[in-house]
Structure formats: structure tokens, C-alpha cells
């Protein structure tokens, strides 16, 4: 059953890769600055943080939840880095561990609120996002601060057409693909997302699955924040404003279902590149950059629209045939 669902995910992820290739072809055909290796490495650097945060969003959508707090977690993690990490290597490690613990803690809070207090995931994460943003603004009310120089040098190191950020992202995607395909925890995610009641009956702890998934997602968002702060050499309490929306768009573009139980992170990677490249491509085509907001909104709606239409098409294709088969048998 599981291998089948992975194959199905690859099928669902396919359109996203086609769109990505089309965008790449159009953009590189229309502007020669686009096809330079510098620009490519820029795109990789710009999209890698989004890609890492989007892994967490994918896992959460797989179990049928949603996370609107990941942007706030990312922001507070950049703020923590900007406040603590500059002094020495020791303080850098302290800041990194602290940021990851905060991310994990927010995830635990989300999981607990959703499972034990019965709060709908959307409201719970909206509220916890507000709390975390509040704390981030307490710590540092405006963009600024400094990041440890060694960390910054490590993160921004370039070996065209790649860079450290790209390599970290690829390693994380390989690890999480392995986890989703080959471990019991990964299988549990699909089972809980597909049908929580039957998953519970077959002995999977839904509570533990929710808690662990939200904790992993929170930690990934915090990790994304650490990398982002090192790349920008500063912290910003509201830098993550659009991350919830962007990650959801990327994940849904990549073929993961909002209803849970179907999808995976391979498609998410293509979705992330599409979302992250919009700004870059518009720049290259010399279009007013603010159009990217409208385009992003439309992409999300279109992706959802296509999926709904597809589902109904599938039904109309499958149902008459099966009915026919039933009558024949």
C-alpha cells in the first residue's frame, strides 16, 4: 500500500516539475542574465530557506493539519541569533540550540492545543504565531543585530553553481524522503492523515504522531531561521510574515492534498522553486515587483482549483467504469 502511495505522489508531483521547467525555459529564453550561474546560485540561496520550512509544512499537511505559525517561529529564531550569537563560538552554539528548542517548543504547544484542547489547527497555529511574534517583538522591536561571523562565512560560502545553503537543503530533502518512504514514523503520518480513526484502531497513537510532527516542523522552521539570519547577517522580528502562505502554496503545488494522507516532499521542492522564482523572474522581465503578491495568490487558488477539477474528473472517469464492471460481474 505504501509503495503505491509513493508512486502516486511522484505522479502528483509531475505537473509541478513541468511548470518549473517551462518557467526556466521561458525565463532563460527571454533574458540572458537569467541563465548565468550567479543567478542560479542566487535562486538556490533564496529558495533554500523556504524549502527547509516547507518540509515541515508538508509533514503537517500530510497528517491533515496546517501550520500558520512557521513564519513567526522563523522570525523569532533570526532574532535569537541576532541577539546572542555574535560574541563567540560558544555563544553561537548556545543561540542555535536555543532557537531550535524554541521552535520545537512552539510545535509541542501547537500539537497539545490541537489534540488536547480540541482547537482547530488553523486557529491554534494562528494564535501561537501571534504569541511568538509578540515575544520576538519583545526581544527586538526592529530589524538589526549581528550574527556570528564564522557562521555567516560558512552559510554564505559559494562554490558555483552551488552554495552551502543548497547543499544543506538537498541533504535534508534526502533524509526526509527516506524517513517518509522507509520508516514507521513516516508511514504513520500517511495513515493518520488518510483516516485518523482507522489509524487509531490499528494501534497508532494519533496524539504522539501529531505532537511529533508539529515538533519536527517547528524545529525545521527554527533551523530555517538560523540559516536566514546568517545569510542576511541580521535578525528581523517580522521577516517571516509571508512564509505560512508561501509554504502552503509550494506544498499544494507539489501535489500534497490539503485533506491529508496524500503527497510528499519531492513535489514540494518543485513548488518551492516556483514560488521563490516568481520575484526573480519578474525582475528579469522588468515587471513591477509588487505584482508577485497577486501572482502568488492566484497560483495558490489555481493549484487548488486544478486539484478539485481533477478529482471530479477522476470520479467521473472511474465511477461509470466500475459500475459497469459491477454489472458485468
Amino acid at each position: 500500500m505504501f509503495q503505491g502511495s509513493f508512486k502516486k505522489h511522484l505522479k502528483l508531483a509531475f505537473p509541478a516539475y513541468i511548470i518549473l521547467v517551462l518557467i526556466l525555459i521561458i525565463a532563460s529564453a527571454s533574458n540572458q542574465d537569467f541563465r548565468t550561474s550567479t543567478n542560479f546560485s542566487n535562486i538556490v540561496a533564496q529558495s533554500s530557506v523556504l524549502a527547509i520550512v516547507a518540509i515541515g509544512q508538508t509533514l503537517i499537511l500530510l497528517i491533515g493539519g496546517i501550520d500558520l505559525s512557521n513564519g513567526a517561529v522563523l522570525s523569532i529564531s533570526t532574532v535569537v541569533m541576532a541577539q546572542i550569537s555574535y560574541a563567540s563560538t560558544g555563544s553561537m552554539w548556545f543561540a542555535i540550540v536555543l532557537a531550535l528548542i524554541i521552535g520545537c517548543g512552539v510545535g509541542a504547544m501547537n500539537g497539545f492545543g490541537i489534540m488536547k484542547l480540541n482547537i482547530p489547527p488553523m486557529i491554534m497555529t494562528l494564535a501561537s504565531g501571534s504569541i511568538v511574534t509578540g515575544i520576538a517583538l519583545f526581544i527586538q522591536s526592529s530589524p538589526g543585530g549581528k550574527i556570528n561571523l564564522e557562521l555567516m562565512k560558512f552559510v554564505t560560502k559559494k562554490f558555483p553553481p552551488f552554495n552551502t545553503l543548497g547543499v544543506i537543503t538537498i541533504i535534508l530533502y534526502i533524509i526526509f524522503t527516506f524517513i517518509l518512504v522507509a520508516t514507521k514514523w513516516g508511514r504513520n503520518l500517511y495513515a493518520v492523515g488518510g483516516n485518523a480513526i482507522s489509524a487509531k484502531k490499528s494501534g497508532i497513537s494519533v496524539f504522539k504522531t501529531y505532537m511529533s510532527t508539529y515538533m519536527v516542523a517547528g524545529t525545521l522552521a527554527a533551523f530555517g531561521g538560523i540559516l536566514l539570519s546568517a545569510r542576511l547577517f541580521s535578525g528581523d522580528p517580522v521577516i517571516g510574515e509571508n512564509y505560512a502562505m508561501d509554504t502552503i502554496t509550494a506544498v499544494i503545488l507539489g501535489g500534497t492534498m490539503l485533506t491529508g494522507g496524500e503527497g510528499g516532499i519531492i513535489g514540494t521542492l518543485a513548488g518551492v522553486f516556483i514560488v521563490a522564482m516568481i520575484g526573480n523572474v519578474l525582475n528579469m522581465l522588468e515587471i513591477f515587483p509588487y505584482y508577485q503578491y497577486i501572482i502568488k495568490g492566484l497560483i495558490l487558488v489555481t493549484a487548488l482549483l486544478v486539484k478539485v477539477v481533477d478529482k471530479e474528473k477522476l470520479k467521473s472517469l472511474v465511477l461509470p467504469k466500475s459500475r459497469h464492471e459491477v454489472e458485468e460481474a
Partner: protein, 323 residues
Amino acid sequence: MKWRKLKLNSIVKYIKKNNIVTGVFMLLILIIIIFAVFASLTPLHFLDMIRQAAPLGIMAIGQTICLLLGGIDLSVGAVISFTNLVACATMLGDDRNIPIALVLTIGFSLLFGLINGVAIVKIKIPAFLTTLAMSIIIKGITLIYTKGSPIGNIAQSFRGISEAWLFNNSIPVAALIWVVIWAIIAFVMYRTTYGKKIYATGGNHQVAKLSGIRTGLVTVSGYMLSSLLACFAGLMLSAYIGVTSSGLGNPYTLNSIAAVCIGGTTFDGGRGGIAGTFAGVLIIFLIQTFMTMINVPEAGKQLSLGVIIIVMVSLNQKLSKRR
């Protein structure tokens, strides 16, 4: 004697039936008393607070309707910012431009609401994603319209809807507008078939449809109403500050959700009402005023909003489970 007993019984019954709303109003009265004692709150001061709370109060009515329909409207903040920018850019401080500004802002807000509703009903996108996408799109439109640098200001006579006081300076106009809008919508929600249809659609979509309610139409109209009320709130807020301010509406989305939560409206639709929301708005506003008085920065308000939402929703869930 008998009559009196009967009436007492019906009051007790009403309180039992609406225990959340009663609780909310008691909480409000408690907070007002605490305020009156510790911050020496005068009636004038209180009226001024109501005046400032009016925009939130008006938009929270719309949010309540969306929640009663089983959805949510995350685009209200963006509608407020949009209204503010368009109103200022078209008025340019001139009284003669007021009608055109009103037509533009109200027309656009109805359009946004229509798109929200149609996307939710026809394409079956979850309400929060539709409205989230809508808020980003509206933000984009706002930025493109202003090219990043907003211009203009509100006409002087229009500022009256927020600044003026009627009846020998005893009643603020803004509070009057809020109460009138609230009364009209309360009448519609509690005493007309349209109101019943909203409750039925939110409570059980399938049953409502089978009993002949055009649920699609009801949902679309609900989102249009929410957007329209957000536009009114935006106009009033613009009149209050008098100039453009990018991101003016940002905090209002969460504020309105928190106010509705406190008012006892649940997220699964069909339960709650705008009676509780009225008190919820005042509670939110009093808490935030109190925070300003004891010098808690903006961050503290945001933090408290999150905590309030979590506590109130979990409380509501527990109460509705027990029933």
C-alpha cells in the same frame, strides 16, 4: 404573582440557554468595574473608548457571520488597509471627492467579498485559504495602486464620522453608527429568515441544502457582508487617523477573531451570535487600553491576543462538548 414567577423562569431559562453570552457580559461588567475603581474611569472616558473601539466592533460583526457560516475571513485586515489607501488617494482632502471615494471603496470591498464567497462555494477551497490568498492579492493591488508611496488625506468633513460628538457633546457619532449597524444586523440575524438561514447553513450544510435553503447564495452574501463591514470599519478608521498608513488593517484580522472567540461563537459554525461579539469587542479593547496605560508595548498586545484566543476557544470547545 403567577406572572412574575413565569417571567423569572423565562429569564433563568434564557440565561441557561445563553450561558456563554451571559458570562461574557458579566466578564465585561467586571472589567469595567475594575477599570472604574483602579483607573478612575469616568463615563466620558468610557464613551471615548467606545468611539475608538467602533471600527473593530463593526468589522467583528462581519467576522461573526463568517464564523457562523462555518468559515473565517482572514482578508478583512487587507480590506481595511485597501479602503484606507483608496479613500485617501481619491479624497485628497477635498469634500467634493467624498462620494466617489465611497463608491470606489464600497464597490471594491463588495467585489472582494463576492470573489471570496464564489471561490469558497463553487471551487470549494477552504475558507481560510481563500481569504488568505485574497488578503495577499489585495495587498498586492494596494502596493501596485500606490506604487509603494501612498498619497492623499481624508476630507475634513468626512472625519466627522469618527471625531464628531452629537447631542451637546454627549454621544460620539462613531459609537452611534456602531450601535445602529449592530442593531440592524442583530435584527436580521435573530428575527428574519435570512438570519435563520445563516445559522442553518453553518450548523449543517447538507441538511440546510436539503431543506431548500440556497446555501451557496447565503454563504456568498455572508462573505460580501463581512467585506462590506470591513470597508465601513476602514472608512471609520481612516476618518479617525485622517491620513494614509500602510498596513493599517494588519492587526485587525486577529483582533476581530479574538473578539468573536471571546463572544462565544464557535469555529464549527452555527453556534454563537453577534450579541456576545459586542461584549467581546469591548473586552478586547479595554484589555488593550489597560495595557497601553501600564506601558506594555505593542508586542504585549499581540502576545495577549494569542493567549486569549487559545484560552477562549478551548473553553468554548469544552463547554460545547459537555452539552
